[in-house]
Structure formats: C-alpha cells, structure tokens
C-alpha cells in the first residue's frame, strides 16, 4: 500500500495568485527530490471566479497516483479569499491545518499581490522537511527577477506568522 501523501489545497479567486503559489510549493517539493503532482483547472472557470490548485507530495521514496486530492483528505488548506473559505471546510481531514490570509497584515507586504507568497511563508513553517533555501529557490524560479526582493520580504513576513517553534 502506498503511504499517504501530503495533500495541500490552495484556494482563492482568479487573479489572486493561487496558481503561482501552487507552482512555488510544487517546485519546492520537486527540488527536494520528492514525487509531486499539482492539479488545477484553467479557462472559463478561472475567469474572475473561484480558483483552486491541489498539490500532493509523496513521502520520501513514495509516489503520487491521482493528481486530485480525494474529498475529505486535505491536510493543509490555504485560502487567499477569506469570504469564500467556508466552502472548503468539508474537504479537510480531521486535524488539518487551515492557513487563512486573514492573519496577514497587508501593510507589511511590498504589494497586496504578494499575499500568496506570504501565505506560502506561513505554510513553510509547517512543512519542516523542506529547508527555507529550497523555497527561495522555487520562488525565484517562479517569478520575474524584479519581483524577487519583494517576494523574499513577503515570504519572511509569512514565516514570522507561522507555526510557533
């Protein structure tokens, strides 16, 4: 039997950076040598409406089968649109962690657009198997160079809000 993967769902509205955040997370897992899959839907459903990306990360040596998280098996839920976060609660496994951007003070960000990166900063404090350097590498690979400095600031701020050490 394949050991359980880590199931992370990132949800928000079109234009909030859901897909970019998922890209950073998936690249971090990829750079660590794990098997990882990232599933999302583009096109009309993405236009101004709800957008979600599902990232599944295998334990070391394991592999991912379905790219979609089975209903009720979400380990980490990251919501970028607080007014729409309630609809995802039934998808959570018991004991799952919910990271909401309600916790983020937008005035501490270089731009409100970096809120997705700050949320990844919070998430990173739970996923202790991935060192910070892997996250930074994935962040830089996922965004244009002019955004790198601001992203690092937003990510560091997110980490300061994360799981108490």
């Amino acid at each position: 039997m394949n050991p359980s993967p880590l199931n992370i769902k990132i949800a928000g509205l079109g234009g909030m950076g859901v897909l970019s955040a998922a890209e950073v997370l998936a690249r971090t897992a990829f750079n660590s040598g794990r098997d990882v899959k990232k599933a999302e839907v583009h096109g009309m459903s993405q236009r101004g409406g709800s957008v979600a990306s599902e990232v599944r990360i295998a334990p070391e040596g394991g592999h991912i089968q379905s790219p979609m998280i089975p209903f009720g098996e979400v380990d980490y839920l990251v919501t970028l649109a607080p007014e729409w976060e309630d609809i995802h609660m039934p998808e959570l496994k018991s004991g799952a962690v919910h990271i909401s951007t309600k916790a983020i003070d937008p005035t501490r960000l270089p731009s409100i657009k970096a809120i997705n990166v700050a949320a990844m900063g919070i998430l990173s404090t739970y996923l202790t198997e991935f060192p910070e350097s892997l996250w930074i590498e994935a962040l830089d690979a996922s965004f244009a160079p002019k955004l790198h400095a601001g992203n690092r600031q937003a990510f560091a701020y997110g980490r300061s809000l994360g799981k108490p050490v």
Partner: protein, 541 residues
Amino acid sequence: MMPMQNPFRVFLSGNEAVALAAAHHNITRGTGYPGTPSSEILPALHSHGVAAEWAPNEKVAAEVALGVAFAGGRALVTMKHVGFNVAADPLFTAAYSGVSGALVIACADDPGLASSQNEQDTRSLAKAAGIPVVEPSDVQEAYDYTRIAFRISEKWGIPVILRLTTRVCHTGGIVSGTYQAEPPPVLAFTRPIEQSVMVPAHARPAHKVLRGKLAAIARWNNEEGPFKVYGPSDATLAIVTSGVSSLHAQEAAPDASILSLGLTYPLPMDRIRAFTKDRKRILAVEENDPYLSESLRAAGIPAETNPESFRHGELNVVRVRRLIAGQPEPDAPPPRAKPPALCKGCPHTQVFGLLRDVDAIVAGDIGCYTLGALPPLRALHTQLCMGASIGMGLGLRHTLPEKEARKVVSVIGDSTFLHTGINGLIEMAYNPPPTGHIILVLDNGTTAMTGQQENPGTGRNIDHNPARRILIEDLARACGIEDVRVFHPTREADALRTALAEACEDDRLHFFVARQPCVLISGRGRSQKTETANCPTPASA
C-alpha cells in the same frame, strides 16, 4: 528551453511534456488553435525552437499539418475536443490517404466541462474516423506516449490522435528520462497521386488500406503496444482503464488487478482477454463514453455496464471507490463557489449594457463574452459553438415576426470571427434577411478566454512578435456590407448605442466593431515572453 542535462528530470505540466517530447522527436512543425485545456502546448513547443504557429482554426491547422506530413515532415496539431469537429473534414479522409512523414493530433477532452460547451469523447470520434488513439495518464506518459504516437504514425503512415484530458494537460508532475533525439525526417514530395487525391476511384482502395493498417496496429498493440499493469496479478476484480482514470483506479483499488492501456484504438483485445480471463468481476473505469466497456462486451468479454451516472463529469478517487462499491446514486452537488465573471473594467460589460439598452436579442458566441449570459447581465441569448452567432442570428432574422427579428444582433469576438465567423459574414452578404442584420464584433485584441493568445487580427505571432494584421472591418467592406463602423465601446458608448438602435430599425446590413483592448493585455509590453502553464499569468502576483 529543452533540458540540457541528460538523463533529465524536470517538473512540467502535461502540455509542456507533450511539447518537450515533440521537440526531442525532432518534429518539423506545430500548429493549432487555442482551446482549454490544450492551449499551452504550442507556445512551449515554440520555446524549444521548433516552428510553431497559431492557425485561424483547427481545420486550417490540420490541413497545414497534413501538408507538412505529405512532404515527409513530422507535424503536431493541437486543439480541444470540440476543435476536432472543425478539423474532422480533412482528418476523416486523411485516415484514408495516410501520411508520408508523421501527423499527431493532440486533442484535449474536457470531462466535467471545466471550460467547454460539451463533454464529447474523442475516442468515439477517432473510432468513427479510423484514427489510432494513444492516451497518456500522467505527465511522464504525456512525454513517453507522445513519442510513441509519432513512431506509430511514421511506421504505419497514419495520423494518430494523442487524447489528453484536463487532468493530464493541467497537472504538473515530474518527467524523467534519457533524451535521445530522433533523426531528422527526409523531406520530399514522393507521394503517388493514387494515395493523395481522394477521388472515389482512389478512396475505395484507400479505405481498404486503412482497415489493413488498423488490423496491423491492433496486432502490434497485442504484442508490443504500450500498457502497464498494477496491483496483484490474480485479484478477483480486474479493472481495464486508460488515461487519468487509471491513476484514480490505482489509488481507489490497490487490491484490484489493473490493466492500464496506452493505445486504446485499435484495442489490444487479445491482451485484454488474457488479462480478464477467469476473473469474478471485470470493470472498465473510464470517463465520458462507455467506450472500453462496450468494446469489451462486443468482443465477448463480460465487463460490467457502468451506471449511467458515471458517464457524466470527471472521475476522481472517491467516485471510483463508489463505482466499485456499486453506488450509482448521483454525487452530492459541489459547494457553491464563486462563478466566473467578466473582469473588472472589461469592455464587454460595457457593450452588453448597450445591447440591453436597445433590448437586443443577442445571438452569441464562444469566448469570455459568453459570460454576458449570466446574471446580472443576462444579455446574451444563444451560444453553441465557434462562429455560430452569425448563422444562427441570420436564421432568427429570417424566421421571427418582423418586430422581434429587427432586434436580433450577432455578437462575436475577434478571434472567433476569424476562426469560423467569417463564413457567416459571407452568408449575410449573400442571403440577407428582409430586415437586414447586425454583426457586432467585440475586438479586444486577443484570444482572451484561453489565456490571451495572439490571432490573425492582433498583428502579432505566437511569440508576440509583429505579424501581418488582418483588419476585420476590411473583410466586411470586401463583402460589400453597406455600413461598416468601428467604435471604442467606452469612449464612444453613446455613438455605439445610437448606431445599434438605428440599425435595428432599417433593413440594411451592418458590421460594427467594438474595439478596446482586453484589460489583461492592455498593460502588457509587446516583448513579453510567451506564457506557459508554469509562468504566473498577468492576473496573478
């Protein structure tokens, strides 16, 4: 760029994996028309230095690709499932003629209709056409099976469909392998007329040649075709599956014996028969049409008939568990998420306000502006397929009582107009209704819905570099339309409203263009690099 290391290990979307495989396979040219979920293949192919371009529609793309393949080259043509309908005319007969080089049609289905107008299954069309189908289940197979599709095409001189689905195209995953480039094809026109001109005298034997090729491919599929098996070899439950359904089945039923097929038309029936022999229960796990289960039963293999509810929507692990447990009741409706809507500041919103002001009956089309049908606008009244707004609008004009007929306006986007709306323009000029008609082109300078691709009207190529620009209004003038005018729908809103109101009253033919850039491209520098699934979209941080 192509990975430089060899062996390679990269994180890609399924679409990017198809493009990488095509580049490694030394293909000659890629062409296609954007359509979710297929749209990222060609830009990725272009980024690898392979000649790739957007065609005005899938039929033209398929014909260009056939020319490449008749010349001995290797061609890739990309489209979504409904695009196959547009390309079907050349492709059905290309199965008879065959190809000299290779032709692979990457056709992306959308079970569950994430961004489409129907749930058609390309496997059913492929069988009707007599075109072999290769179906990858994940990103690794998207790479591996693309190369296999080209090999099959080249070996038997037959077009091959690479059937993708949303969860293959838009899933990110790991592709690894050892990159071995295919030697370049030999380019020359050596085709006999008998194999290239499908008049009846040539097509009759060509049809027999096709059936012979399919029989040979079926034999090869039984002996050497692509497949994988999972789970114990002797379970009482045997699952026959393909595509992403295979992954759901592996997770939902770790104790079952699973045969995951790579080449699903023509099927390797001997292999399936051997795999399912003496099993207590045989189940086909598949999305959309009951293609596998019906094919198995037709061959005398007692696969179960899946409950009707499982042909609708995508499968997932939970649904496959329920299929196995024999629980056919419909799924609980998904929680109500925020529905899609036109972007803030979208010029289409402005135009739909004006159409409401004149109480228009709007024959609509495919694009972001289809969202004009949803509340609060509710200002678009028909929509079926690409280009239909004009023909259907004319049919409504011909048929409705005069008072209503006068209110009919055909509303179509720039890329959709150039795709298949242009034929409707010719129809309007040739067979004008007694009350005249109005075509209103919403020209936002991009193919917005599918990810802001270029089209022949934008004046830019697939890589956003300058190209010859087709002026839509000039086409209308060339057709002799009496009243051709261009408006900025925000700055000239009053003038456009007046023009629409007056045009509804007279009996003339009108062609209006509402030209204002899409808000997603208006700030874009012309040198911006092509987007792929792995780059942040302009709308995100």
